[in-house]
Amino acid sequence: MSSSSSPDIRRWYVIAAPYLWLLIFFLIPFFVVFKLSLSDVATAIPPYTPIFSWSTGIWEFFSQLDFENYTFIFGDPLYINAYFSSVKIAAVATFLTLLVAYPMAYGMARAPKAWQPTLMMLVILPFWTSFLIRIYAWIAILKPEGFATLFLTKLGIISEPLQIMNTTTAVYIGIVYSYLPFMLLPLYASLEKINPSLLEAAQDLGSRPWRSFWQVTFPLSLPGVFAGCLLVFIPAVGEFVIPDLLGGSDTLMIGKTLWTEFFNNRDWPLASAVAVLLLFVLIVPIVIFQRQQQLEREAGR
């Protein structure tokens, strides 16, 4: 290290690489998307009018932009419904994930200390195996002649094949299943942090176990609940693979709409506009999530 460079300059060597990378490959592309969402579709390769060329000039460039794609989206109930139904499906699925994950995280946090690393491992392991494969595994279970039907018929619970595949129910199952670790980990972290003597204190002061749970454990686990819900909700709104493979024609989700617009209809400007609006829907929860992460990091110091 040359002694001539001041610590302040040296600092920037470290900061610059990841910073520039994210600026170029994460932030700037959004502006490209935004610009494109204001352009018109063209039957060419690439299938839209040029982003910018010096020959046409600045004025020309701006004069070509318009909100046509947005007015089209707002004019077509298909898109609006897709946004609403994405948010609704994601919200319901997030709540269901919370219901499944909470008792599990609670059980893990209260398990003998020697067991906890192993249990953690077992939660994370499926998360490391392919997302696509895990969704695929559910197709074999949920389809009418699948394992669920076989199993429940054997038990005599049902006599007709299950009609879950290609419905919104299947999408819920898929989201709960694939996002479970994202909910579990922050929940477990916040539950595990609770000092057991707080619960002893509550009981000592006359609170029965169930009340102690609602008075002490649950309020103290709220940061974990909050973080877990954001981690599930935000990506679930824009989910594509799950509704595409498990959902049916009645399952409207915006991620799938975007995919169809882009790959099947090859309307890149319209797909861009859909993406911009999706980002618009998600910007508030994303900012909240980011604030929370930052607070946690500062508190962890």
Partner: protein, 274 residues
Amino acid sequence: MKTRFSWFNLTSITFGFAFLYIPILLLVIYSFNESKLVTVWGGFSTKWYGSLLQNQALMDAAWVTIRVAVVSATIATALGTLAAITLVRMGRFPGRTLFSGMIFAPLVMPDVIIGLSLLLMFVAIGFDRGFWTITLAHITFTMCYAAVVVQARLQDFDKSVEEAAMDLGATPVNTFFQITLPIIAPSVISAWLLAFTLSLDDLVLASFATGPGATTLPMKIYSQVRLGVTPEINAISTILIGIVTVGVLTAAYITKRQTDKAERERRRAFGATG
């Protein structure tokens, strides 16, 4: 004080893990099914594994996927480690909020948005799409995960160790390579593994970022899954699950052995006390 499993806890954990693992187990078991029908057991067979090896397109896709994953995980881990140091050790600097926003946003951002925006930029600057565009896309989103993993470790470790090294005359660069990096090494390794599997796993970004000639395994699997469930996909899934499981368990075993060793040494140093 020792705690034991209570009935409620044991039940909720058992059901939770059953939910997590039964689908995967079924998939693995039926990859050894003789029958072409995926839900009817026709006897044990490994023929679907054999037919995989004959499938040249699938093998090519697997090779592309592994190359992308190795390259992108390595670069992403390096960038992610720098990003983690920036977040934890650099204090305030202009644009810090934007920086941490760009680290955390990709963790939750729907991948269709990231994929679309990257593709449009590649097209805009006239970048030839294929192997490298997929790799660039993967670096961008996996470096954020890597940063978060390394950051967690950096936060818990005692900064005075670094200060002691500098006090003893080590330059910041030497301090990083001789002190900081060895201490955070396990988290850097897990960051690499995470980046590697995320890349191995990705369908959406790769579908957007790819060009002619570069097809990854998830893209291949996806196009087949859309046509229905086949034992061949079960077989390739089982192989992937096997690779990941062995890798993760090995990593866990290594870390556990290290922490156990450290714990034993600590106990010996302080003497066993009740």
